[in-house]
Amino acid sequence: MPKKILLVEDEEIMIDLLQKKLTQEGYEISVARNGEQGLTMMREINPVLILLDIIMPKLNGFEVMEEMQKDKELKKIPIIVVSNSGQPVELDRAQKLGAKDWLIKTEFDPQEVIKKVKKQIGE
């Protein structure tokens, strides 16, 4: 049974790339294209990990994390933030909202994403 990962991301090419890479690694990927959809889907599919973008339409990544914090089931799901930015204030805020890791897109590549995913899932 492949492990389910939820990707919350609005950038189409990033979705394609991550989906391809993660599927190749043997994960089952579900995609939400905005924060609101992300919250709905995580309740439905109960993923082992969430890859979360920050700047998105409807709810942004921080707002999604805030909502998750209010839900005792959702707050258990580990989150890796995948963002274009990486300011210390943002990192601090994400950490306080329960994010396990943070990836700046320009500084990492898909291979490194897999490494971080595996680390979080404990493989």
């Binding site: 950038e11 090419i13 990033m14 790339l17 391809k20 890479k21 190749q24 274009n84 930015s85 300011q87 210390p88 204030v89 897109k105 320009t106 500084e107 590549d109 898909p110 291979q111």
Partner: protein, 526 residues
């Protein structure tokens, strides 16, 4: 009859006596008169002179009687004409002429002539009164000279007065001009004397400071005043170290309205007074902010497509998207590197905008700086090897104390300095890196044998987007941001950064970081 005769005789005697008395009286009077009197016969022959005349002419009466009066005067004609004229006109005539005395001295005299008549009124000669006017003449001459001199002085004085008047007019014009300039100057202007007392403020200055009607005139810019706005200015001016330097600092005022000011102070009138210029740079600040925001936004927007390109290319290279030929790999590899350079540029731009927005946050932790340097050196090992550069790392002799630094930012600063050294040092060159501490500071240096910085450009080296003319020809893809960022990082850590450079010989960059307590306090604010 006899009685009658006797009576007549008596009367005659009485008359004779009276006459004798009169003559004596007259003679005595004549002798004591201080005026020289000559009695002259009708042909101009001297008949008698008085004592005063004797004294004046220098001859005794007996020596002079019988002589022609003319010989005592020069020119003779003066007297001849005078005597003639008096006969014709009958009135007393006076003339100034020259008397020649017995010892041939020439004396200026005034001669008055009157006709002598007998009892029947027939002219029988003349009376000449001679007054010595040589002293008067002398005084007169002196007076004339004095008058001339006075006249000259007066003319000179008039000229001076005219000049002064002209100068005053010019000065007044200048004053009016200066006043007009000060009054209408677009910047706020304040003049303080050497005691820091405000002696002048122009309308724009009052507007900027929110004061009016010269109410701050006379206030001393020192300590605390009743005007909060002035207190802010005083605090800023206190930073000024030396009187001679041109002082330029920015000041932000909340009241009367939000102003960003650039304060410049200049010593005027032989350091007695200081001119303080309040230049409103609110608009420049706004434009600068808008520009920074624009660059920040543009850079953020660029990061998304750059990440997409990076990830796609990486997946090609990793074989995630199927097998590729060697040629394809080669091209993709190169494209990937170009994209990486673009990412670096965008990151640099973002760093700069964050520095400018004051959002360049620091997360200080107690760190061994040697480890930070070692980390950067490791990351550059490849390129150093490729360029066959000989690298010397002079490690500190004793262990350095841990200091509070933002590790990421410090890595960036050191990286920028080392990256430059490598970039601009030719293949086979030499780079020395050193770390040491002197108790108060940690000192870092990186010395290269590179192209150096041209002398005329050394002053601009830490300015953003600046690149030396010589390095632009070697490396086209530098951003001109590395040193600007490095300087900001070092200075925000309370340190100093500087360099020494000689073109075609090499450059040494230095920075120091304080170990002292205040610096640690300083960083807590972040």
């Amino acid at each position: 009859m006899i009685v009658k005769k006797e009576t007549h005789k008596k009367e005659l005697e009485i008359l004779k006596e009276d006459f004798e008395d009169l003559k004596t009286y007259f003679d005595e009077l004549r002798e004591i008169l201080p005026v020289s009197i000559c009695t002259v016969g009708s042909r101009g022959i001297v008949v008698d002179i008085n004592k005063a005349a004797e004294a004046l002419i220098g001859y005794k009466t007996l020596e002079i009687i019988g002589q022609s009066i003319e010989v005592f005067f020069y020119p003779k004609e003066d007297i001849t004409i005078l005597l003639k004229k008096i006969e014709e006109e009958g009135r007393i005539k006076t003339k100034e002429t020259t008397l020649i005395t017995s010892n041939n001295e020439k004396i200026s005299v005034s001669v008055s002539v009157s006709l002598r008549k007998d009892s029947k009124g027939n002219p029988i000669g003349y009376f000449l009164t001679i007054i010595n006017i040589s002293k008067i003449k002398k005084y007169q001459k002196q007076l004339e000279i004095r008058a001339k001199e006075l006249n000259k002085s007066r003319t000179a004085l008039m000229n001076i007065l005219e000049d002064i008047d002209d100068a005053r007019k010019i000065a007044e014009e200048e004053r009016d001009k200066t006043k007009a300039i000060i009054t209408n100057f677009a910047d706020g202007l304040l003049v303080v004397d050497k005691e820091n007392k405000i002696i002048l403020i122009n309308p724009e200055g009052e507007k900027i400071l929110g004061v009016s009607g010269g109410e701050i005139n006379g206030i001393i810019l020192k300590g605390i005043t009743e005007f909060p706005v002035l207190n802010k200015l005083i605090k800023l001016l206190e930073i000024k170290e030396s009187k001679d330097d041109l002082f330029r600092k920015e000041l932000f005022l909340e009241t009367p309205k939000k102003h960003s000011l650039e304060i410049t102070t200049i010593s005027i009138t032989r350091d007695e007074e200081t001119l303080i210029i309040l230049h409103d740079i609110s608009r420049e600040k706004l434009i600068e902010k808008m520009k920074t925001e624009f660059v920040s936004l543009a850079a953020h927007q660029l990061r998304t497509p750059l990440s997409a390109i990076k990830w796609t290319l990486k997946m090609f290279l990793d074989g995630d998207l199927g097998k590729i030929t060697e040629e394809q790999r080669d091209f993709i590899e190169k494209t990937y590197q170009s994209n990486e350079r673009m990412i670096i540029l965008i990151n640099n731009l973002l760093d700069v905008t964050r520095i400018e927005e004051g959002k360049y946050l620091f997360k200080p932790t107690f760190t061994q700086i040697e480890n930070v340097l070692q980390f950067v050196l490791n990351s550059l090992k490849e390129i150093i090897k490729r360029k066959k550069i000989k690298l010397d790392f002079e490690k500190p002799q004793k262990k350095l104390p841990k200091i509070k630094i933002d590790v990421d930012k410090m890595r960036l600063a050191i990286n920028n300095l080392l990256d430059n050294a490598i970039k601009y040092t030719p293949v086979g060159g030499q780079i020395t890196v050193s770390l040491r501490h002197n108790g108060k500071e940690i000192e870092f240096l990186v010395k290269d044998s590179g192209v150096g910085i041209p002398k005329d450009q050394q002053g601009r080296i830490f300015t953003k987007f600046f690149r030396g003319t010589n390095v632009v020809q070697i490396e086209t893809d530098g951003t001109g941001l590395g040193l600007f960022i490095a300087k900001n990082i070092i200075e925000t850590h309370g340190g100093k950064i500087w360099f020494e450079s000689e073109e075609n010989k090499g450059t040494t960059f230095y920075f120091t970081l304080p170990i002292k307590e205040e610096f640690q306090e300083f960083l807590k604010e972040f």
